[in-house]
Amino acid sequence: MTTQQTSRHAAPVIASHTRQLGAPQAAWLVAEREISTKLRSKAFLISTGVLLLLVLGAVLFSGIASNVGGFDGPTKVAVVAEAAEVGEQLSPDAFEVTEVANRAAAEQAVLGEKVDAAIVTGGEGPIGLTVLGSDSTPIGLVQALSATPQVELLNPTTENPMLAYFIAIAFGIVFMMSAMTFGTTIAQSVVEEKQTRIVEILLATVSARSILAGKILGNSILALGQVVAIAALTSVGMLATGQDLLLGELGTALIWFAILFAFGFVLLASLYAALASLVSRQEDVASAVSPVMWLVMIPYIAIIVFNTNVKVLAIMSYIPFSAPVGMPMRLYLGIAEWWEPIVSLGILFASIAVVWWLGARIYERSILRTGAKVKLKDALTAKE
């Protein structure tokens, strides 16, 4: 190709050693620059470090809390002498037993807040014991004393509403933080090129679509990298703190979270880039991308509010923007069939195709129009 071109143009005496790049190569070069620039930014490295530390802290905290059985340490229980036998049967991990002389002493201990609860003899129940509490029923103790049949879990789980709630928040936060971090990065990068006009030099070399694709690719790789790092850290942390049972349940959900997030981010990144290309100054980026900001925040809020609502979760798990949060949540709760994440991914792919087409159209038509904000309608309808 090179020799062909050189012979075609009589003029260039200069030994030409350039070859025209294909669109994928050009996009990859752009992506590479996005990644290396970001990885060298101190602010980014620090904030990522802090985020990972927070995740690790949360995992360790949850591990310690679940091992100890509560945040306040063992429940202090006073037991009258007649019921000493009962006291001995209580698990020493969960209960700290003190023996008292009689019911009066027990009452005093409870009221004086020396103990959380007390066990005295007597009462109407079949077990002939009464539990004394201060202002609320000491549920843990009552459960421990209840004559419950032996339970054998054939499908053991640590699932409980509180944990589900925290996991919902975790998916929501990681999704929102990563999407916003890298969405903002891509938006600023688009405007930087537009503001400094280097995009004109780039456009003289490679197509607008290659530039846009490279930016989306680069930032998606970064975002996915961050999410994978968080997932890996969570897994390792859980194994280290003996939460392997929880990890077993969360495993599939985590993998699907990473997959759906990666492609969901491509969708968001296209929108971020397209909207950012409408403005010419960094100061205007925030207002330009605010619509897509909502698309990022709504799944986060919805998952917190509706983390127990099966119907809403089902809908969320198929909407491209909230699927990365909704589907893993359903997988964790065990209320999604195996094929559902695949269908959701299919819907996501179709949406990416549409949004990419729209985004590229907006980007191509507004990236050279500096000055006042380009109207979205103009960007979509204008002749190139």
Partner: protein, 313 residues
Amino acid sequence: MIELHSITRSFGDRRVLEDVTFSVAGGRMTGFVGGNGAGKTTTMRIILGVLAQGSGTVTLDGQAITVGDRSRFGYMPEERGLYPKMKVAEQLVYLGKLHGLSAVAAKGEVDDLLERLGLTERANDTLESLSLGNQQRAQIAAALVHRPIALVLDEPFSGLDPMAVDVVLGVLRDYAAQGVPVLFSSHQLDIVERLCDDVTVIGGGRILATGSREALRAEHSGREFEIELTGDAADAGWVRDQVGITLTHLDGGYARFEAESDAAAQAVLARAVAGSTQTLEAPGAVGSAAVTQVLRFGKLTPSLAQIFKEVVQ
């Protein structure tokens, strides 16, 4: 050679280019001049394919220009732009790679260029830490990093001190000497006059004049002549009385005049020469120390600035 044939372009209802036709010959520096909003930048963007033309064609060596050709052009846009926070050498290597150079070739090319432009010491500084003049040099390096087969430079000399102008000029001349077509626009008409081989003047989206610098000057030179006499009491006032002559400017021994014909102009010269001979041969005939000599006589060629004003009006 880059040729533009009947290029038109509108933005909305506003027609910004109308039937723009001119060529940029290989091996020659072509100056592109025009007022603000005349259409220079739009024309250059169309040559580079950054903008699409409404109608008309751009050809390179007689064939329709392709994306592949354009990716091998060197372009310096009017609005300067490189990444402010990226190191100079690094972004030039990046641009080289985008143009299709291998990493190694790009690195070598960048080192050479920075050396020639006197930027080697700043290679690892961020662009924003450079002085404006050095940023401008980096910008020129960005247009040259891939050894372009054609150069299109929008205002390459603005913001450069005279030393830097010479450095950049030297680099550009090297390219032209290798047969590369070089098109550059400038508001500094004196620089264009000094540097370019060919000139194209655009105004209101139309090409007003195009051709070699000499041809344009000859074409726009009128019937105006000048003569300068030197001597203690040199006075060219007598020119006023010559037949077929209209005096336009007189300042002691210097006179500018319009001549109806070349013969009338020659008559002025003859009289001046005769007068000086006379005075030399017969000292004291006109005045005690009145020795006058013809210092200069010639047809006035307009400066580019004058031609520009003339064609733009």
